[in-house]
Symmetry: C2
Subunit: 440 residues, 2 copies
């Protein structure tokens, strides 16, 4: 279909009754994020340089890759006053929206804060777990076109609510271009230090520390393939969050939602980048026709129509299923990052949904609301990983220590069991260590 002088492409149509439906679904969902050997080598070299040359390497790489004019790390360090100024200078409307989003995100995440617990057994032995926030966290924020203030809020706020005291942000400033909204978001969410560095060098600096950049206990936040490869490489030295694949949405409609709304919801995913995936499911053929028609109608009006067209054409789909039950099966097979249940009775569906990062229920709950200000985190498991992983949360910035305190009674009782088990494993020192505490 041609429009606006451009070839606009839309999503493929699939039907669960097609003989090759399973294979086509597998192909549609296939995604393997791989770093080739060249990227791996570059990243290893960058990490090595930062570990051994510290600030000098950071400045050198920032000048080379980001074309900054800085000649020392002090030129690339932004203090809290600078962040506060960015916040104060925002247009009133943006400052209010930022405040409102931050406050809602904070309020939701407060529900996730957990406390330790202990219990005492009859013989006086105490068992429990202690919960402690991480000491320090580094947040990676991409620069350039993907510099999103909402991403700052979503990555920093859970750490802040968890009680992390040192919150370090890194954000590259290509060609010395600073994003004021990103700095303002850092201010609102409690960031304590910002360095204008990016790429694998920023990850290396956070993992190992330099003269200027403190090393942190965990690094979170999205980034390009160099950043992701560097995060994998430093994992163990410090913690990392998940390595995200392209963002995706699965919209399910019972036929009762305005097709123009649904098409725009699909666009809101597809406009992120060419690899983003938007899939629509319904059992109503006419409704699918209407959504498809709306896609081609609205697409030429979108500023990012090229990205949307590529995303929908390459990775999008409109899928006809037999009924609600088949829709639920398909949802659980896809395990989508974002699931929009644009149906009249979303609560009836909820119990059957086993795998989804975030569930947007009912016709009024546009996924975009969750991206900014509903409250729950927008950092979600992608590419089917919702089968085994969860949204970013306060839990990711707390850790637990087990507590065991045996009474003399308890040491006697447990020691007898441990001794038998240890001998069964031929671990004599384990057995004797336990037997030392038996009653004579």
């Amino acid at each position: 279909m041609s429009s606006d002088g451009q070839d606009m492409r839309g999503p493929v149509r699939l039907d669960s009754r097609d003989a090759d439906f399973d294979a086509r679904m597998d192909a549609l969902l296939a995604w393997e994020g791989v770093s080739d050997a060249n990227i791996q080598k570059s990243v290893d070299d960058i990490i090595h340089a930062v570990r051994h040359r510290g600030d000098d390497a950071l400045v050198e790489f920032s000048r080379r890759f980001d074309r900054v004019s800085a000649t020392s790390m002090s030129d690339l360090t932004l203090d809290v006053d600078r962040l506060a100024a960015a916040y104060r200078n925002l247009p009133e409307e943006q400052r209010q929206a930022l405040d409102a989003s931050a406050e809602r995100i904070r309020a939701y995440h407060e529900h996730q804060r957990t406390e330790g617990w202990q219990y005492t057994e009859a013989d006086g032995t105490v068992l429990g777990q202690k919960v402690t926030p991480l000491d320090s966290v580094g947040v990676y924020v991409p620069g350039g076109k993907a510099a999103y203030p909402s991403s700052v809020l979503m990555n920093v706020m859970p750490a802040h609510v968890a009680g992390v005291s040192e919150l370090v942000m890194v954000v590259p400033t290509p060609d010395d271009e600073v994003n004021e909204l990103v700095l303002a978001a850092a201010y609102v969410s409690g960031v304590t230090k910002v360095f204008a560095i990016g790429g694998a060098q920023a990850v290396a600096a956070l993992a190992y520390g330099t003269e200027t950049v403190p090393c942190v206990d965990k690094i979170v936040g999205p980034g390009n393939i160099y950043v992701a490869t560097a995060k994998r490489a430093v994992f163990g030295q410090c913690g990392i969050d998940m390595i995200a694949g392209p963002s995706e949405i699965l919209v399910v409609s019972d036929g009762g939602t305005d097709p123009d709304w649904l098409a725009m919801d699909l666009f809101s995913q597809a406009e992120h980048d060419e690899l983003a995936q938007a899939i629509f499911i319904s059992w109503d053929d006419a409704h699918i026709d209407a959504v498809e028609k709306s896609i081609y109608k609205q697409l030429p009006t979108m500023p990012r129509k090229q990205i949307i067209s590529t995303s929908l054409g390459d990775r999008g789909a409109l899928i006809k299923v037999a009924d609600k039950e088949e829709a639920i099966q398909l949802i659980n097979r896809i395990a989508p990052e974002h699931l929009e249940l644009s149906v009249g009775d979303p609560d009836e569906w909820l119990g059957s949904i086993r795998h989804a990062g975030a569930i947007f229920m009912g016709r009024y709950t546009a996924e975009a609301l969750g991206d900014y200000c509903a409250g729950p985190n927008h950092v979600l498991p992608t590419s089917g990983t919702a089968r085994f992983s969860s949204p970013l949360s306060v839990y990711d910035f707390q850790k637990r220590s087990s507590i065991i305190k045996c009474s003399a009674e308890g040491a006697d009782k447990l020691g007898r069991i441990a001794s038998v088990m240890a001998h069964g494993e031929s671990l004599t020192a384990h057995a004797r260590s336990a037997e030392n505490r038996l009653k004579r």
Copy 2:
């Protein structure tokens, strides 16, 4: 020191007042688990073969690497009846110890089971999180000398308590040797299927599935460098637990615990393997002397004296600190996997301990009790990773989905905020998707 015709080596003595103390601590604690390129290549080849040739590759690798006589996967499949038989045939004493351990581990982990929650805002918007167990989990259990039934209990029970319905265990049987205690432990902890396979091929089978082995959502359990490398490689295809380094203990004494007990506690760690690390801290010089003397006295009596001697000689230390405060600083710097607070007032210490996998409090709480039957998990963060990670738990086998259900009111309020934020990020489809739901 020579004894028993062998050269027995013990831990180095360090003093926090030494000029080079910091550097020596850094050297003592340094650990980087690296897979060399050859291992990486072998593992990649094995994974590729299993993905493409399935059962045939599994049988071939098991014959080659584990010298099994099996000619098909049915020879390498153990059903629940086989596990039950192993359990029934155990000596009474071992069966009782296994039951008691399993029951205590279950009871502790029941405290970790979490439920979802929701709350409703004034305008009717509902926010919350849904908690769901993983569908299926694979547990890797090493074969040969490191085949520990306690490891089966500790890895499987949290998944079982979480509600995981499919629990698949893999355990290699080198030279066709089956460990009956391991099978009995699998039975007691709720394993549903066992395959007698190991190495990178077992990890690949669990991650991708074969004709016989089902693919699972997460793989947990300890293994050698091939297993660890394979787990890293399949991460993303499925979840994995942490990659463990060598096991370690930090024992702190105020001078009031029997030096023979303390020496044996250090041995119980050191006997695991040559790379295990046992460190002792006190501010009482005479007490440190007594512990050192006891080490050399008891060491020749240990069946695993060679392993213990190497571990203590290469990686052990007896450290004199100035006082309790300095001991606490050192604990938090080391962030030990196991921390034994062999002191009279362990509760006074607890609030200051920020980083430790498990804390064993008081003179009666031998670390060995925690290895088997106290209740908390013995799979713990090693090599200082307690700074950012936690014991294996029920939480690792549940995942969360965020829930957002906007009322018409809520969609209007949130839509206005989201629209401003989205325009600030130049994401027009996001803005329009939100604006579609504003009140007219």
